[in-house]
Symmetry: C2
Subunit: 159 residues, 2 copies
């Protein structure tokens, strides 16, 4: 039987495989990393953290309550409170009590937030467009469809 706690010894690798020939799933992981990096770089250009930028991007289509926002961003409510706090302190975002349900705060962009949010959003889209390079319309649509299906599957899996 194997024991879980090992002495701190290095273990030599089986075979140092080079970067060639990666599978689709691995490619997806790498791609995700690339997208995150792009997001981070563009955000930094606008003096935002990646998370703040994500937040702003989710608000450009209109105010959203904390709970919905938490679901969108996959954050615990306490995490979101902090994120919104900092964004509010920077004047990017405002909390407004809902009229219909006095528990909920509607989070909306200030005009500063809208400006920097759309700028970041557009920047990210543009950079991703560059990375995509030349891609004809059929492939673009097929790709979009495939990804959309994956996202839907992930959404399903969440119940």
């Amino acid at each position: 039987m194997t024991h879980t706690t090992e002495s701190a010894r290095a273990v030599t690798a089986p075979g140092p495989r080079l970067t060639d020939e990666i599978g689709l799933e691995t490619a997806l992981v790498r791609l995700s990393h690339v997208v995150q990096r792009v997001f981070g770089e563009v955000s930094r250009d606008h003096d935002l953290t990646a998370q703040q930028a994500q937040l702003l991007c989710r608000l450009v289509d209109g105010p959203v309550g904390m709970a919905d926002l938490g679901r969108m961003l996959d954050l615990e409510k306490s995490s979101l409170t902090g994120l919104v706090d900092r964004a509010e302190k920077r004047g990017l975002v405002v909390r407004t009590r809902s009229n219909t349900d006095r528990r909920v705060y509607q989070i909306s962009l200030t005009s500063d937030g809208l400006q920097v949010g759309t700028a970041t959003h557009d920047g990210v889209i543009a950079r991703l467009g560059e990375l995509l390079g030349d891609i004809d319309e059929p492939e673009r649509e097929q790709l979009t469809a495939r990804i959309t299906r994956m996202i839907a599957a992930a959404e399903d899996h969440r119940r």
Copy 2:
């Protein structure tokens, strides 16, 4: 002329567009988010943070120096020091001085690290496979090729 600093007023959105019909670039952002979430969930199942899991996954093919690791993970060296410190404290990873260059530390997995690293890796791949659903070989290859090209483009862009 517009001034950068605005009073903290909410700005009403132009048009609350629903989730239908998103562009490819946006789909990529969402997909990236999904992949990150999967990574986080699987990591948590193995009592790892997403970053620790990323670290381990980068080491399964053999030891890597801190500098290379930093480039792989896109981390400043000071950030990486902390990440490796915590991983080492958990017995997942070991630092070994290189024989040829006595400045560099080779980071290698312990057998614990190898085990949990491959388990996490396999888990992520499996979950992504589920999300991909049925996909015939030609499309799979086309998709892999497209993504690989994007990754290469990103690598290029970094100089």
